[in-house]
């Protein structure tokens, strides 16, 4: 799967309060890519990631998924792309606190109607080293473990691309490195596309391609 952003701009608010978070961005991502998007806070890098992830539509410009314009897509079609082809990893993990790690990973599979979800979810948790904590709740896990659980959830439906928004932002250096190594391994061994948003230059430098964003523009 290939996602192309062509001259994409995104504005929030209206009238005098209108604010352009992204201006004229052109960038692509596909399987096997490892792209880092770097820039200071408020530069527009998360906005770019959300548009990549079909969570948001641009105000101007085109977004193509496998050469199909998404501006004409319905909510159902956008949801299906997110569900089947894209995995998300967030800085705050965003795990469901009332569900076990296994259930959290099972959730996207349930949405996709996967039949033997439990087995696959357990396997995904095994990959990220949480095979022994299937029945633990997020509150019983460390920050690193929660983020690994979030990665397992992102991998649940075997996506083409994982979009990670500051995945190491809430973790200490050592745990952050482990999480990053995991994403790199998945990229090299499973040809997974990884787009990572970070303001940490050291993290960004590990990517094959680095995109700098400043004031909504790619510099």
């Amino acid at each position: 799967m290939k996602i192309d952003l062509v001259n994409v701009s995104k504005a929030y608010g209206q009238g005098d309060a209108q604010f352009w978070a992204l201006k004229g961005a052109t960038v692509s991502a596909t399987e096997g890519d490892f792209i880092s998007i770097v820039g200071p806070s408020g530069s527009g890098k998360s906005t770019m990631l959300h548009i990549f992830g079909c969570l948001d539509k641009p105000t101007e410009g085109e977004v193509r998924v496998d050469d199909q314009l998404i501006s004409t897509f319905s909510d159902r079609q956008m949801s299906r792309i997110r569900r089947d082809h894209i995995g998300f990893v967030f800085q705050q993990y965003f795990l469901n606190a009332s569900m076990t790690t296994l259930q959290n990973v099972l959730l996207p599979m349930q949405l996709a109607g996967v039949s033997d979800g439990k087995k696959k979810a357990a396997a995904a948790l095994e990959i990220v080293g949480l095979g022994s904590k299937l029945r633990s709740y997020p509150s019983q896990l460390s920050g690193g473990e929660q983020q690994r659980c979030a990665i397992a959830r992102a991998l649940a439906n075997s996506p083409s691309i994982v979009l990670a928004d500051e995945p190491t932002g809430s973790l200490d250096t050592k745990t952050g490195k482990n999480v990053l190594d995991m994403l790199m391994t998945l990229n090299s061994e499973k040809n997974l596309g990884v787009v990572i948003v970070t303001h940490d230059e050291a993290v960004a430098a590990k990517a094959k391609n680095m995109i700098h964003v400043l004031d909504g523009r790619i510099s």
């Binding site: 969570l55 159902r76 949801s79 299906r80 997110r82 965003f94 949405l111």
Partner: protein, 372 residues
């Protein structure tokens, strides 16, 4: 989807309990109302048809009030002169005229209903006994006062009499269980109603000509002749209007339940914005989110409905049996009441969740995740 709902319910036990409780109270009230109403209707039917009369002769006054007083065994303070009895018996087509006098008196110091009549009563009431001698008592009276055949009781009001109990009736599940049956003269003496009657039960030879007989009897002075079926219909109409009011009040309680559930669900949507945002990011469609909230509400309402049915059933068992026209009414349970209550619960669940579910479905994933 059910495990997602269960996982959420475990996290919000108090809120879930309050929602289930609110619906359960409404459903319990509705169920109790339906089964008690049916019980009262049944009791009315049983008591009026159980009189065994084709025509009921009453003193002048409100026939419904007088009939209820007769059924309850209370003196209505309006009476038929006993000297009319031969004239009544002489009317064509009257095969049997059973004089009755009722009133409350003390039986061994405890207030009970006294029913004075003649042995002719045995031709209209089928108690399985051959004669009305001494005192024949209902099963409830026997139990309440600890009386048995052979005991002598003191019955007193205006006068006092000592009478031996000759029979204890088998339970009839009706008002007869609460009466002390004595001879007409004995009752008149105790109640101070010499030469006066509370009512006369008439049986006709040719039932199809009862209406004509009723008109003839009705023309006699100081009495009115009414067919018990008319009384039953009018009392049922009266009861129906009471029932309608009660159903309306229950309906208002249920609407309040809908509002409360709607409020709970709306708050739940607000509280669960993060969860909704994650669901949407993971690929839930708007419809999936909508369905999740409606299903959750539906499940809570069904649980509330079942809890309400059980609570309503238990409540009816503990409510005082004497209710509605002072009759002993046993609640009637019918499968249709269960269906009605569960349908109401489902309607409450669905209607109360529509707005919150739409609001949840409209949640923009990106906006939610940005706010967190």
């Amino acid at each position: 989807m059910s495990w997602i709902i269960l996982a959420n319910a475990r996290k919000r036990k108090v809120r879930v309990a309050m929602t289930v409780g609110g619906i359960a109270i409404g459903v319990a009230t509705l169920f109790a109302l339906l089964s008690l109403s049916a019980g009262i209707e049944n009791a009315l039917d049983r008591e009026i048809s159980g009189m065994g009369a084709h025509i009921l002769l009453l003193p002048e006054g409100c026939p419904y009030e007088l009939t209820l007083a007769l059924m309850q065994g209370s003196d209505a303070f309006e009476h038929i002169p006993a000297e009319l009895l031969p004239d009544i018996r002489a009317v064509g087509n009257v095969s049997l005229a059973v004089p009755v006098v009722v009133g409350k008196a003390k039986v061994n110091g405890q207030l009970s209903s006294i029913y004075g009549t003649t042995e002719e009563i045995l031709q209209v009431r089928h108690w399985g006994i051959d004669e009305l001698k001494g005192a024949v008592i209902g099963s409830d009276v026997a139990e309440k006062l600890g009386l048995a055949v052979g005991d002598t009781v003191t019955i007193s009001l205006y006068n006092s009499l000592e009478i031996e109990i000759t029979q204890v009736l088998e339970p009839t599940n009706g008002r007869d269980d609460t009466f002390v049956f004595v001879s007409l003269e004995a009752a008149q003496q105790v109640l101070g109603l010499t030469n006066r009657l509370s009512a006369v039960l008439i049986r006709t030879e040719i039932v199809t000509e009862s209406t004509r007989t009723q008109y003839t009897l009705g023309r006699m002075s100081d009495i009115q002749a009414v067919p018990p079926s008319d009384i039953f219909e009018r009392l049922m109409e009266l009861f129906a209007s009471i029932k309608q009011t009660l159903i309306l009040i229950t309906g208002i309680a249920i609407v309040a339940g809908v509002m409360t559930t709607m409020n709970t669900m709306t708050m739940a949507v607000f509280e669960r914005k993060k969860e909704i945002g994650i669901l949407r990011a993971l690929g839930s469609t708007k419809f999936n989110v909508f369905k999740l909230f409606v299903t959750e509400s539906l499940l809570l309402s069904l649980v509330g409905g079942v809890v309400g049915l059980i609570a309503g059933y238990i409540a009816t068992l503990f409510l005082p049996k004497t209710s509605g026209f002072g009759l002993e009414a046993t609640p009637q349970f019918a499968p249709i009441y269960v269906v009605i209550c569960l349908v109401v619960a489902v309607i409450v669940g669905v209607t109360s969740s529509l707005y919150p579910a739409m609001s949840a479905a409209r949640t923009q994933p990106i906006k939610t995740l940005r706010e967190l």
